[in-house]
């Protein structure tokens, strides 16, 4: 057992950024013999994009479609495990990886951990760190001996290195398999109208702490009087209390141009952080002083969001 396998991910003609981060994590952690697998139809640009200094090979597997197919990815990974006997398999922790990696891990009896944000490998022993209990604790994991270990890595942790035509490219035939879950089409998110989270410089965001639909209005008004754009966490959009266009996070919008982000009653889940943790000035307001959001904030206010809102209104009369 030796070497590192990484499966690249792409969608709608674009390589997933987290793939480059995953490759970078392997290079920075000095994992042995890094092989990056690219699966799909028009894969030339992806092959070039993953040739980062430090990799050994790109394994190109040409198939009849560019779209993700869980069975294809699972069968291919299984085939490569059995031909290369890697000690480490690294995948980006994305929706597609969630959609096949665990099936292979269980079936092939791999060591396995997801959403890992730190790992090390020494003398073949892998250690990984992930979050637990709503991110209130970190968990150090070990793995069963003498088995390949597969880790899915949290996005936005490793800063990707640039490709420079490193490594060699080899071609492998795709496995024979039958597709049981077939791609049909993509549906683009609904138009956001005049709500512009990506463009906003100042966002006031509310989470489940708002407690009730009838409380939402006062925060719309507050955001207005502060000159902020109102954002929200996912449960608020799921409940239909605010339109999806206001949702910040992995499955919503990214606060790309935000300079000041005030998070009220938001715990700071990984998926919410994905859309805002890069913001320079984050102010977190939460009644729970152990909430994970405080670990990412510049300023923390341990308080009831309604009381702070009330006082803020006094400071910023309309």
């Amino acid at each position: 057992m030796s070497g590192t396998l990484i499966i690249a991910e792409h969608r709608q003609g674009e390589l997933c950024q987290a793939t480059l981060e995953t490759i970078t994590s392997a290079i920075k952690s000095h994992t042995p013999d890094i092989r990056v697998v690219v699966i799909g139809k028009q894969i030339e640009p992806f092959i070039e994009a993953v040739r980062i200094e430090g990799i050994l090979e790109v394994i190109a597997i040409r198939t009849s479609s560019n779209d993700f197919d869980p069975d294809l990815y699972a069968v291919t990974l299984t085939m490569l495990i059995n031909s290369y006997h890697p000690e480490l398999i690294l995948l980006p922790h994305t929706v597609n990886t969630i959609g096949y990696a665990a099936a292979v891990a269980a079936d092939q009896r791999l060591g396995f951990a997801t959403d890992v944000f730190d790992f090390s490998i020494s003398n073949g022993i892998v250690t990984a760190i992930r979050s637990g209990y709503g991110q209130k604790v970190n968990v150090e994991l070990g793995f069963p001996e003498n088995r390949p270990v597969c880790l899915t890595l949290r996005p936005n942790i490793w800063k990707p290195l640039q490709a420079n035509k490193a490594g060699i490219v080899i071609e492998i035939h795709p496995p024979v398999y039958s597709a049981r879950c077939r791609h049909e089409t993509y549906l683009e998110p609904k138009s956001s109208g005049d709500i512009d989270i990506p463009g906003a410089a100042f966002i006031l965001s509310i989470g489940r702490g708002v407690a009730d639909e009838k409380n939402v209005e006062e925060f719309l008004e507050l955001a207005d009087s502060l000159g902020a754009t109102l954002g929200c966490s996912r449960p608020i959009a799921d409940n239909g209390w605010l339109p999806k266009a206001r949702q910040v996070g992995q499955s919503g919008k990214t606060a790309s141009n935000c300079k000041l982000y005030i998070a009220m009653g938001i715990s700071g889940s990984v998926q919410h952080l994905a859309g805002m943790k890069h913001v320079e000035n984050i102010v977190a307001i939460n009644t729970d002083r152990e909430a994970s959001i405080f670990n990412y904030a510049r300023y923390g206010i341990v308080a009831d969001m309604f009381e702070i809102a009330e006082e803020l209104r006094n400071q910023f009369p309309e």
Binding site: P70, V95, I98, G99, Y100, A102, A103, V104, A105, A106, R109, F112, A113, T114, D115, T127, A128, S131, G132, Y133, G134, Q135, V137, N138, V139, E140, L141, F143, P144, R180, C181, R182, E184, L187, P189, F202, G227, P235, A237, D238, S251, G252, K259, V270, N281, E290, N295, A297, R298, Y299, G300, I301, A303, I308, E310, E311, L312, N314, Q315, F316
Partner: protein
Amino acid sequence: MKILVPIKQVVTLDEDFEFTPDNRDVDHDFHIYDLNEWDDYSLEEALLIKESNDSPIEIIVCTVGNEYADESLRKCLAKGADRAIRVWSNELKNTDSIGIARIIAHIARREEPQLILTGVQSSDFAHSTTGVATAGILGWPYAAVVNRFEPDHDFTKASILRELEGGLEEAMNIDLPAVITIQVGINKPRYASLRGIKQAQSIPIEEATPDSLGMIDSEIGESGSASIIKKMFIPEKLSTAIIIEGTPAQQASKLAKIINDFKGV
């Protein structure tokens, strides 16, 4: 026809929690239990399928856990699940999500459901592993992070939508039986009626063990798992937040200053 809905009783931590002496968990005295948020949606989806189908459907909820987990199973029975199975024995203590999937797979082999609906993840550990791993063990088709599920009339295929990054959705078509992991927001979970709560009290919860399910040693507990918890610790603060103290009025006036500084007022 049967639908199997594996559920998890999740833990939130009480304030000022402490670790166990071996540092491998948080002391259970600080555990507060609840049904996993995602499982509320997978159960609701099963109930909706049952209600919109002419032929009878039996909904079976199952979980792995000690008697504390009965509370969450009862909640599901109160909402309309037909049967509940709880699997436990002391050898299951250090079971991870892959190990749990091995147990669910055994239940599935015994019950032969046409569909398994799990949540995308649990709110406490967010592994996003159990459902897809169960499919891998059973050799079944699977789809993860699904926010629409429409089976065809004879339940051999289903049209689904998967929710991808950035709000993009992917329409797919999947063969059944399958394991589907359900995303929050797919439906509006109901509340249990008083009558439902009352009726649920009289439905017995079946207690099973790895042994009674016919599991072999290499599938059970740590042997069937893919990871071992070495220790837990408090995360290092990534940015040391400046905590703004004082009364709400004082806190708000400091916040107002931050806002005004930002605006260059």
